[in-house]
């Protein structure tokens, strides 16, 4: 399938890259179809790209890059929506927010994007551990 993307223009994506978000993403509740794309930065960074609107793409990152002990704590409802059978099928990402000064870049630890990689289902959940921040500095000591 060909889609228009923010980072790469029009590209071919495979079924394996497609994710269905039943509830959309907070603030984008009517967007249900996304694809997961590698970034040029590689490693723990990915693009979560809307299939419908090229301009809507989130940079996401493995939160353990920032907090190595980060652990997903979520409700049975969320795990049910994600149709989780085995813990190892789950991928957890934080959305990255970049400001005018990139040094202030933050990641959302409180509202992670959770993906069931076997069933291609995604959901933005709210962590039951509310000590996590919505805007946690990406690089220690650089955020505000």
């Amino acid at each position: 399938m060909r889609i228009k993307t923010k980072a790469f223009g029009e590209i071919e994506v495979s079924e394996k890259q497609r994710l269905f978000f039943k509830n959309g993403i907070f603030g984008f509740e009517d967007m249900h179809n996304f694809v997961l794309l590698d970034t040029e930065a590689g490693g723990p960074f990915y693009w979560l790209q809307s299939e419908k609107v090229a301009e809507i793409a989130f940079l996401i990152v493995d939160p353990r890059l920032v907090i190595s002990s980060y652990k997903l704590q979520t409700s049975k409802d969320d795990l049910g929506d994600l149709e989780v059978e085995k813990e190892e099928d789950i991928l957890v990402f934080s959305i990255v927010t970049i400001y005018d000064n990139p040094q202030n870049t933050t990641i959302n630890l409180l509202g992670p994007i959770v993906i069931n990689r076997m069933k291609h289902i995604g959901k933005q959940v709210i962590s039951l551990n509310d000590s996590y921040s919505v805007r946690h500095p990406l690089v220690a000591g650089k955020g505000d």
Binding site: P102, Q103, L110, G111, I126, D130, V139, K142
Partner: protein, 76 residues
């Protein structure tokens, strides 16, 4: 919306195992205690709004910032 009047130390049950208690009322400040199973989500509504706002800002990301992000890590 169901509206119930409650006094201090009075409670409301939601379903069989969620209990809301009005712990104290001081001026315009109401403290609410919530007893619910661990896997029931209980959040201040502001949290949803904060996440929505952060998402909307995050969606504006420009692809060329990836270079800057890479640089942040190189310096460390």
């Amino acid at each position: 919306m169901l509206i119930l009047a409650r006094k201090e130390n009075q409670s409301i049950m939601i379903g069989d195992n969620i209990e809301l208690t009005i712990v104290s009322i001081k001026g315009d400040h109401v403290k609410v205690g919530i007893n619910a199973p661990n896997d029931v989500k209980v959040f201040r509504k502001e949290i949803f709004e904060e996440i929505q706002k952060a998402n909307i800002e995050a969606a504006n990301v420009k692809p060329d910032v990836l270079k800057d992000i890479g640089n942040l890590f190189k310096k460390n």
